[in-house]
């Protein structure tokens, strides 16, 4: 696919070998920004980038390579860094691409992809709500699943797990023993 403006019709069937071609194109366009690109299995690709290059890479993927569907935006807490994981789908050849964007732990900000894909709207709100990663440029970054006045980001590893909670009896709550 060399001409960006012409999109082939969506046949509904996968194009074999398309993922290798796409990986080559990404590698040639961003040789230094993309870390360990790999073909995980047929039709599945994976690349890792830094958070500063996100919008540029995403725009290339969308406009040139035809990844028009943003399946999912995930935020993962690896205790020493965050990762914002994007899953992009290409309806033309059936490939799906996973983009892991590396985010330092003490500055959990990353650019929002809402200007490119409106599908990111709700997903980024959820990632902010549950994990606390700030998506700059999001139209309204507020809580979506949890109550509006909830104070914590529960999916972080520092937030107590279900098994770590103590059972506080009613008597103890009221000041007894």
């Amino acid at each position: 696919m060399s001409a960006p403006a012409l999109h082939p019709p969506i046949t509904g069937r996968p194009v074999p070998g398309a993922e290798v071609e796409i990986l080559a194109q990404i590698g040639s366009r961003f040789p230094d920004k993309v870390r360990d690109p790999s073909v995980v299995r047929p039709r599945v690709l994976k690349i890792t980038i830094d958070r500063a290059d996100l919008v540029e890479v995403a725009r290339y993927l969308k406009d040139v390579l035809g990844f028009e569907h943003l399946s999912c935006v995930t935020a993962v807490d690896w205790k020493d860094h965050f990762e914002s994981v994007y899953h992009l789908s290409n309806w033309y050849n059936g490939t799906i691409l996973q983009v892991n964007a590396h985010i330092p732990y003490d500055d959990p900000r990353i650019d929002s992809l809402v200007p490119l894909w409106n599908a990111a709207n709700y997903h980024e709100r959820e990632a902010w709500d549950l994990m606390g990663v700030v998506y700059e440029g999001h139209p309204n970054l507020e809580r979506i699943l949890l109550p509006k006045d909830f104070k914590f980001h529960p999916l972080r590893k520092e937030f107590a797990q279900e098994v770590d909670r103590q059972y506080i009896s009613r008597r103890k709550l009221k000041g007894g023993k």
């Binding site: 969506i10 046949t11 509904g12 069937r13 996968p14 995980v40 299995r41 039709r43 028009e68 569907h69 943003l70 399946s71 999912c72 995930t74 993962v76 807490d77 994981v85 899953h87 789908s89 309806w91 059936g94 799906i96 996973q98 894909w117 409106n118 599908a119 709207n121 709700y122 997903h123 959820e126 549950l130 809580r143 979506i144 699943l145 949890l146 109550p147 529960p154 999916l155 937030f159 797990q161 279900e162 098994v163």
Partner: protein
């Protein structure tokens, strides 16, 4: 409108701004059913999470548990035996029919056709009986396993399925008379809740809602998993002009009932007669893996990370209804207040998977 409302299927709130009877703006408010799934799935072992994923979308449990099992298998790098793949296909399609019939049962009363509720639920009983014979329970069956399925099919299961499907196919004729031939039904659904193809792809709409706009995307065909490569079926895409309205969504989902019945019958013929139905997965796993499947409502994607422990490190659940709900303001603007429930009924909301 909501959260206490008799006809919003599930618990969510739609704030609608109206000018007389015309909707000028809409904003959904979700999260009433948030159960903290992703957090509690980090505490349980891999296999025990299937109990939880069943209850994500309780109407269509096997498809969700299967997506999770697929993601974990991709992470662990294990391969499922052939017979298990076919068994999974059959169970998925049975569950898909049951889920679509539940949608049909809910869609009728949305428009005022209360007879549709009773008829669709009557037919759903056939498939729930089949699922009960196969898996032991009607809903929340805990049937898929990492590495296969929980148990082999009972004897004569294919004969039972054939009989039920034959009976069901006769009833589909009655449904056509009730829905398709009703002029009032056409008046209520044609041109109502329209979304353009570009908007649908942009907002992440998938599944029958996207196929109603004319986009030929069915993940069972585009990105085949299990044995869907060997199955001959036709993704139901809206082929006429002016798709993307409630009627197109209804037609796409309704025709999938017939398609799924065909898939089930084919699968019984193509299935290997004997073989293992399960392999034992390793206990601990490290790495990350994801899998996406064509759920009854769209694209369900599970992203699982492991760090060497016997339980997941992070599970992310991507729900198709979550994304479709983001696109509802576009569908609602310009329509009448009476159409809110009709449009939302046609996109098949299941709040369990939306709110996780």
């Amino acid at each position: 409108m909501g959260p206490q409302h008799p006809m919003t299927h599930g618990l969510w709130n739609m704030r609608v701004q109206v000018d007389g009877e015309t909707i000028t703006d809409a904003a959904p408010e979700i999260g009433y059913l948030h159960r903290g799934y992703e957090k509690i799935m980090e505490v349980r072992e891999f296999q025990k999470n299937v109990v939880l994923t069943d209850r994500l979308c309780y109407v269509s449990s096997i498809t969700w548990s299967h997506a999770y099992c697929l993601a974990v298998e991709k992470m662990m790098g294990i391969d499922v035996p052939d017979r298990a793949k076919w068994m999974r296909v059959i169970s998925l399609e049975l569950q898909r029919v049951a889920s679509h019939l539940m949608w049909l049962a809910a869609f009728g009363p949305d428009l005022g056709l209360l007879t549709g509720l009773l008829w669709a639920l009557r037919e759903r009983e056939l498939f729930l009986d089949l699922i009960q014979v196969m898996a032991g329970a009607r809903m929340n069956q805990n049937y898929p396993r990492i590495g296969g399925v929980r148990n082999d099919f009972p004897e004569n299961f294919d004969a039972m399925c054939r009989r039920s499907i034959e009976h069901f196919r006769e009833k589909l004729v009655e449904y056509r008379k009730l829905f398709h031939d009703s002029k009032v039904f056409h008046m209520r659904t044609r041109g109502v809740g329209r979304i353009s193809t570009a908007d649908a792809i942009d907002w992440g709409v998938t599944g029958p809602n996207l196929r109603a706009c004319g986009v030929n995307v069915d993940l069972r065909r585009l990105d085949p998993y299990e044995s869907y490569e060997d199955v001959d079926f036709e993704p139901q895409v809206w082929k006429g002009r002016e798709g993307g309205d409630s009627y197109a969504r209804f037609i796409c989902r309704f025709n999938e009932l017939e398609e799924s019945c065909g898939i089930i019958l084919q699968a019984f013929e193509k299935m290997p007669k004997d073989g293992a139905f399960r392999v034992k997965p390793p206990r601990r796993a490290e790495g990350e893996g994801f899998a996406r499947t064509e759920d009854s409502r769209g694209e369900a994607l599970f992203y699982v990370c492991g760090d060497g422990d016997d339980r997941p490190y992070r599970v992310k659940i991507r729900s198709p209804v979550f994304c479709t709900m983001a696109a509802t303001p576009i569908m609602l603007r310009g329509n009448k207040l009476a159409d809110v429930v009709a449009i939302l009924g046609s996109i098949d909301v299941c709040v369990g998977e939306m709110d996780k």
